[in-house]
Symmetry: C2
Subunit: 183 residues, 2 copies
DNA sequence: TGCAATTCGTTGATTATTAAACATATCAAT
DNA sequence: ATTGATATGTTTAATAATCAACGAATTGCA
């Protein structure tokens, strides 16, 4: 973990912050690189030192959110939190970053986020499935996994795009109950 | 007005902001260069590229405030604002930057600020004295000037160190009345 | 369609910042 | 006083960011 030059961190932070702020103003496709540079108070060329284009930039931001969610998930596992309680953490995270997630899901970039999110869920939930259980005797593990994960993603997407109609905890509990029935 | 490199502006802004923030935490003399560098998220050496030491840094911050006040004063003169109205602007400025002015006046650096402030007042008020007036027939211009300016500084210092006991407008009006009687 | 104006992505030369190291100075506690 | 620790101010080579310029691609509009 050779620590990176302070200038790199600062530039990237400013650039990412700028994009997120601009996304709540206008459609992502209408944002120019110059807009981002202006808002970040950074030379336009500097953006190209770190990202291929604005799509690559958005991808990297999404990737960081996914990683953040993974970290939360794994630290919840270490602290032996039950499934519902760890879900609450996630939904609170979505709530904190609402303006980002809602605009991403509303834009044409929704699918790239959704697929990455789905991958994460599959990774993290694979071990939670107990195929020895009686109710799962006749079911294929992959089927159960796919069933749960897609519904999870669907609920999250619905909750965010509808403007978070219930508090994080309420949604997390209800989703937890439904998932528990399936595994 | 050859525009300066963006990096210079950003570094100096970060450094000055850091000092001001730190000054509300602890005594200026207890603040180390490293403290400032950490808070500004800047290399320690960078500070020495722009300032001789932390005293020079504080001096420059004070100087910028003085210049800001001068600009306000002169633009008020251009807009033909009366004396009281232009004072209101100043006191509102003190109010906006309260945390800075109060800590500076409380510290050992008070005198350097006070003397610069006094110089500014003398410059700007010299032209306002009308020695042809009857009541000023037997008075020396410099005496009137000194009288008004020191009382002005005194009021400002009292108002700030007492925690701004009255709104800016109230103070500005009262001070305006008193000064008007003298010139 | 055609023209003008942006925007893009890249380039090269220059500059500001960085990390690390250094000797010196200040300071506290023993 | 002596020591250990921390702060200062300076130097070095390496490097990230800057600005200005460029042709090419896109867009917007007449």
């Amino acid at each position: 973990m050779s620590k990176v030059d302070r200038r790199i961190t600062k530039s990237q932070e400013a650039i990412k912050k700028a994009v997120i702020e601009l996304m709540s103003d206008k459609n992502f496709d209408d944002i120019t690189i110059q807009d981002i540079a202006d808002r970040a108070n950074v030379n336009r060329g500097t953006i190209y030192l770190h990202y291929l284009d604005k799509f690559d930039l958005l991808d990297k931001i999404i990737e960081e959110h996914i990683n953040e969610l993974r970290v939360m998930c794994e630290s919840a596992a270490e602290m032996d939190l039950d499934f519902i309680e760890s879900n609450v953490g996630w939904f609170e995270y979505f709530e904190r970053n609402y303006s980002f997630f809602s605009t991403v899901l509303a834009s044409s970039k929704a699918s790239s986020f959704r697929s990455r999110f789905q991958e994460l869920l599959i990774e993290e939930m694979r071990n939670d499935i107990d195929t020895t259980k009686v109710i799962n005797r006749e079911l294929n593990e992959e089927v159960i996994l796919q069933f749960i994960v897609t519904s999870f993603v669907g609920i999250v997407e619905w909750w965010i795009t509808k403007g978070m109609p219930y508090p994080p905890r309420v949604i997390a509990v209800q989703l937890g109950i439904l998932i528990d029935r399936s595994l």
